[in-house]
Symmetry: C2
Amino acid sequence: MADPMYRRIAEDLRRQIESGKLAPGSQLLTELELRDEYEASRNTVRDAIKWLITRGLVETRPGQGTFVRLLVIPFVTTLTGEPETASGGEGHTYTQEVTATLRLPESSPPDVGIRPADPVMASELQVGEQTEVISRHQQRLIDGTLWSLQTSYYPMRFVVQGATRLLQATDIVEGTVAYLRESLGLEQAGYRDKIIVRAPDENETRFFKLPDDGRVSVIETRRTAFDDSGTPMRLTVSVYPADRNQFALNVGKVPAEVMDPQSADSPDESAASDTTK
Amino acid sequence: MADPMYRRIAEDLRRQIESGKLAPGSQLLTELELRDEYEASRNTVRDAIKWLITRGLVETRPGQGTFVRLLVIPFVTTLTGEPETASGGEGHTYTQEVTATLRLPESSPPDVGIRPADPVMASELQVGEQTEVISRHQQRLIDGTLWSLQTSYYPMRFVVQGATRLLQATDIVEGTVAYLRESLGLEQAGYRDKIIVRAPDENETRFFKLPDDGRVSVIETRRTAFDDSGTPMRLTVSVYPADRNQFALNVGKVPAEVMDPQSADSPDESAASDTTK
DNA sequence: AACGATTTGTTCGTATGTATC
DNA sequence: TGATACATACGAACAAATCGT
């Protein structure tokens, strides 16, 4: 009896949801009905619902009601190329991976521009802060919903050296890695990724249609690509909503992944967390 | 005047925090004082504070007050070994990496047991569900605070074949990768990592002392290691609180990382999110 | 197109509980 | 122990969104 009332109501509803008694997509009783059901005040019921919202179990729609959230099938992005393959070649893996999972990918036309380097860009590309760099921005959708935002930055010197298509707002179908090799003889020798989980900013919240309470975080990957001399030649910053994306990477000799539509997501309650057994 | 009052109060406080007018660690006015300050009710002020809490900007301490949160220096885990090195050898990289960044690492003694395989374990280790597997669980601390929980699972056949130390609750100092090579002649040829961001469960919330509102998510990595024949030999599930961990990976030929104590964390507001320029 | 019914969202006031110093 | 500060809970009123008539 230690737990506060709103908590007990929330736990009770959570049990009903996780047991399947309340199916995904189904509507909960209204706040007034729950008030009678639990003999609490409407505000207390609302506190319980807020608790469920923060945990991603339900969502409210003004004027309609409260609903059990549908679960989404996460999309997996593989961060490494084929292990035994020569380095590089991660250009057009996106559509490959997506179509392989029978889903419909789209990319917006690139949004190209020149902008001064912020601290992250300057540090990764090893240029001075405020130095102008080329930026190429794209949005990626799967099955019609927004999946990621991606911006690549290149040093300005590439354009001077002849890679003029970097500044054109058209897709470089063969991939910029191949384009830079053909146009400048620049070989991508490897890359370093940094993976960061953080709260979405306002743009991202709007763009991905995330709940505006900052509950869903985004995953930001920063890929710095290097040429053979170890000079950074590209920085690609990608932002993925954490509720519909997963990542994978292969190191060394790894067998092909077996397709199983499981081990996917939330009702996990397993694995490494058995601290208090 | 479109925004609700609690929102306007929250935004105002957010501005003060982000501009540095309210320094990290400093105390906000009390709810009663803020009520007078903004000429709202205490409940409305509390709604504003809740909004700031879910965004990780402030924290409340019962009996004390509301405080601007301190930012923590994230710890970076590199998921790949040295690129040009032969595969394998990721055994004791943990202490290496931590000490390299001048921080104090600790590992709890392993918590060893036998347990039936859950769906994830069964799928990754390619054993039947409910089959018994060996589990070795460890906690990792840095500078005295909890950084990660880790559990490795091995098929039972390894013990029968002679790797009996897997079942002893003592540290295998040379690393289990080396131990399995020495005792069974088993060579780890590669591994596959899956990276998932999800809400913490109750154990994890307690253990990492996370705010109990599920705002901070955890990063779960599942590493499946394979021998030369492509047979899975180990599954390691690690759970990291997302607010103090980052990940990195190197592919191909990559220069040594330059040490710069920047480009770290939250007040980012940069990069790929320029959707609405 | 307008209206009313329903449902969630916001705001207020108030009282009492619990944690900290 | 008392004072202070946040936490929980109740009741009430009106606003805003949605849907069917």
